[in-house]
Symmetry: C2
Subunit: 581 residues, 2 copies
């Protein structure tokens, strides 16, 4: 049901009643008829009433620019922007986005159902429609301790909320293929709604089983071949173009007019800097057009296709009776968004949200998420095993971190021993790494060595650490590691760079330890400062804190560290720090 | 939710459990990926589990033929087949149809909600899925007396039935455009479901208003221009290819790969002879391919597109987890359907349903629909007005019936007067026509003269008379008209040809006076006999009873006759028989 009474829309459409607003001299991208039409768009209340020739007290001259449907992100973790929900909305609405389908996977891993409720609640303070898919895999792995565990029974009540559309990416594809009862019961509760998938590299009978189970889409395709096979199995393909993972160039060649209705755009994870620098779904459209995709199809992948897939009736197109969500573009080449209307109201101009800054209650009403057992310097000591010494050092498993990758490799190295302790060895790029359980004050700490960060002094620490989001630190000495972890605790979560006991840069993330309560511009600046500070202590990674955030994700890579210790990911079990023990 | 447990389907898909049935050596028409793939299809329970290489105890060698999704009719009045619901299903399943979206408009006009329930109930005895859209315009016009009046309150409870998908063709487009409250309340109850349209020739702002009101489709387009404008307004286009109205040739050129997802096939009205002679949706596919439409798109218009439009999850394609509804075609040119599987079970071979004939309870459990005030010969007398005579005859309005048209023209003629009565004049092709109210025994009879049938003797009568379905007769003399009407009453509805007091041919239609309880072959033969008998008494019309059935539809044509008398359709009001009075 439209918010604006049906009768009023009809009266305006017929001309019996004048519109609230008419957009004049527009070129309208009709993603249904696959045409660009010239005309006026009459808006009444939150709806488009008619397209043709209309009059109203208020008119806006579009000057021949292109009216596109408001853009829709088919799958996004808002947490990855590091912004609170309404602030994220303010940023993306400037890019022409009027709706997103959010999976509050990180909030849910930290806060459980309270995290999902938080997104639903605070979304109402932003200038876009935020629909929610229920996080299907909390926790992501039994080998790390998250803040919550969500069963089908926990998720089910949310399906009564009209803003909740179904079950988010079912990452536990082994569980689906094994027909694990707890996994199938989650699919069951959402069986008449949308069930999103996540199955990197899945092929053959396993893929058939995954599709047959009721999974409807996938956003993990990295090659056209992979996407073609998933398409054949009936999965809708969400083409992901985020901060780290960018699949658009690989997948665009697969799109044919006959199959275009099965594709959508999503970002999955995109941080505030990239959103501000590049854009959002408009960026995917722009890039797809440059790669040769028909511009109207490109717009459709970012609007109507997503709306239809999610059953969002009356959105995703500029049509009579549809929600008046419109992104005005300068052209269909650079796709610069000049104005954005959401539910009939102008909400952004020249890339910036024109609504007043978000109010206090829009930002936060979530309890602190940090619950850590008292720590002292000795917690970061790693004693040398009996019988080892500086001259006879133990051989330890080392995590080999990689630049711009979320997986890892592994090696075995002799540790550096001093005064009965295993310590960092900057000369060999061996840093100490810790994962401190932060949800239940269990006192659990994982300890290991990592190579790749190239720290020559100090330490970095953060509370963003997929998917359990425990506290993670990498450093050259225990004192700086301790200061870094304590600072993150003090700010109720955040990211920090420390050298010689001093904070070089920080970004407090008081909301679930995941996102800031500050405006986007400030957050972006602080992120840049963090990167620079990390470089100042030697880090060579392009995105040091992105690398840090994936060091404890125990489902991808060869070797990871969680609060339960080192994890051999292939064997999916813990292994001791010292090799061969 | 599939009927077959999700776990079992997954187990079969992975190969852990063997399938019930494997279709071997098939060419599979994948309407999602727009490809034809070679492989096996594994079926378990009512579902397709996987596509690839599979084994089972039971295998069927498809011998390289084409597996198409089971076909779906997007909009059909089953009553127009003149068959009861399960018998209709038996006929169309032989054509590859495994589901239809039925609008029980005629049953509803005669029997009200009992007519809708009758379709839902008896559908379970046939071999296809019959989904129901709720008849939106009962009665169709205030100028004829139907058997029921259905308000939003009457229709609303049906929406709880999972086989009910929404609101059927909203023919009262003037009511929509005028924002009439009773019309909008019907749209309101179905606002989150499907709302079908019916708006012949509607353009411009009125069309925008119709779309803005929430109408989602149209099946009345007769030209590509009309369909293009409706597409632009966001309406889905159902391409109709029925017995009388055939729009496929005009509309196929409009279909482009980019817009193909907005088109579907429907028959609307197709009688048993045409279904048996030509086919059903397979006929539309065959014809569309001959007209140049891509064969895979043609199949998709008859399957997946309709399933998606109506939200029929897991149907309309041959994909893992989908309902195992499959039409095997010899090729994608003549599209001869050799086998049909519905929910995993073989239900038709070589054009014929292989299920046992329908049982008694499948046919009928509806009370008699004929409720007529006692009639005698004098009821058919039309006295000459005072002051008129054979030499000074009154001038009367005459309905000019047209061959293969449902509209009419009008003229004014001097009546033939004999013994103070206005009588038929076969020499001038002026027959007497009567419409007898048959629902409420009101005794109302409409009387008029009609030209076009060219009856030289006898009379024809029937109880199928859109949309109110009163009794209608055309004849050359009162005695034969009386016998014809009495015979229709005696058979609880039907169609009959009478000459010299003798029944030349008849087809009893005891179910609501609309459809037969007999098998399709017998019904088709009786229809042919009726046509022949009508020709024997002089009728030159291609389809005499089709012409008869539209003589009292008071919303189309220039002049019609209802139980309330002659209706000037343009002025939408009754006019007297004698001109100028």
């Amino acid at each position: 049901m439209p918010d604006t009474p049906r009768k009023d829309i009809i009266d305006v459409a017929t001309g019996r009643r004048s519109a609230d607003l008419v957009l004049k001299n527009a070129r309208i991208v009709n993603v249904v008829s696959h045409e660009i039409l010239e005309g006026d768009v009459a808006i009444f209340g939150d709806r488009i009433a008619g397209i043709g020739r209309y009059e109203a007290d208020q008119t806006i001259d579009i000057k021949g620019r292109f009216l596109c449907p408001g853009l829709i992100d088919a799958h996004v973790h808002i947490e990855s922007s590091m912004l609170c929900v309404p602030e994220f909305a303010r940023v993306v609405v400037g890019c022409g986005t009027t709706a997103v389908i959010a999976d509050p996977h990180e909030f849910a891993n930290v806060m459980g159902t309270a995290g999902i409720s938080y997104v639903l609640r605070t979304a109402k303070h932003g200038p876009i429609d935020v629909y929610v898919m229920l996080s299907s895999c909390v926790p992501a792995s039994p080998l790390e301790t998250a803040g919550a565990e969500l069963t089908a029974e926990d998720l089910d009540p949310f399906l009564a909320n009209p803003w909740v559309l179904g079950l988010a990416e079912m990452m536990n594809y082994p569980g689906v293929i094994a027909a694990a009862p707890d996994v199938l019961s989650k699919i069951d509760i959402a069986a008449n709604r949308v069930v999103d998938g996540h199955a990197p590299g899945l092929v053959g009978r396993d893929l058939a089983a995954y599709a047959a189970a009721g999974i409807m889409s996938d956003h993990e395709c990295t090659t056209a071949e992979e996407a073609a096979e998933k398409l054949r199995c009936g999965l809708f393909i969400m083409i992901r173009e985020g901060s780290q993972t960018r699949n658009l160039e690989a997948l665009v060649p697969l799109i044919r007019p006959e199959t275009a209705d099965r594709f959508m755009f999503c970002t999955d994870d995109k941080d505030v800097r990239d959103l501000m620098d590049e854009g959002h779904i408009d960026f995917a459209i722009r890039k797809a057009i440059r790669l040769g995709l028909d511009p109207i199809l490109a717009v459709r992948l970012g609007s109507l296709n997503t709306a239809r897939y999610f059953g969002l009736r009356g959105t995703g197109a500029i049509l009579p009776g549809y929600q008046a969500d419109i992104a005005v573009m300068e052209d269909l080449k650079d796709c610069r968004v000049t104005q954005v209307f959401r539910r009939g109201r102008l909400v952004a101009e020249d890339g910036h949200c024109t609504d007043p800054p978000i109010s206090k209650e829009g930002v936060s009403s979530l309890r602190s998420s940090i619950n850590v057992h008292n720590l002292d310097l000795l917690d970061y000591a790693i004693p040398a095993p009996d019988g080892t010494s500086a001259d006879n050092p133990p051989r330890v498993h080392v995590i080999e971190a990689l630049d711009n990758r979320i997986d890892t490799q592994r090696s075995i190295e002799p540790a550096l021993v001093k005064n009965g302790q295993l310590i960092a060895d900057p000369a060999r790029d061996l840093a100490k790494m810790f994962v401190v359980e932060r949800h239940r004050a269990s006192g659990e700490i994982g300890r290991a060595f990592v190579r790749g960060f190239n720290l020559q002094a100090g330490a970095i620490a953060g509370s963003v650490a997929h998917d359990a989001h425990n506290l993670v630190a990498v450093g050259t000495n225990d004192a700086d590691i301790h200061v870094a972890i304590q600072h993150v605790i003090y700010t109720h979560g955040g990211q920090v760079v420390v050298r010689d006991g001093r904070i070089l840069a920080d970004l407090p993330l008081p909301i679930a330890g995941l996102v800031t309560d500050q405006p986007a511009g400030l957050a972006a600046q602080k992120l840049r400062d963090l990167s620079e500070a990390a470089r100042a202590i030697g880090c060579r990674f392009d995105q040091p804190f992105m690398a840090l955030a994936f060091m404890s994700l125990s489902v991808i890579g060869q070797l990871k560290l969680t609060n339960q210790g080192l994890i051999d990911v292939d064997k999916f079990q813990p292994i001791p720090l010292v090799a061969g023990t």
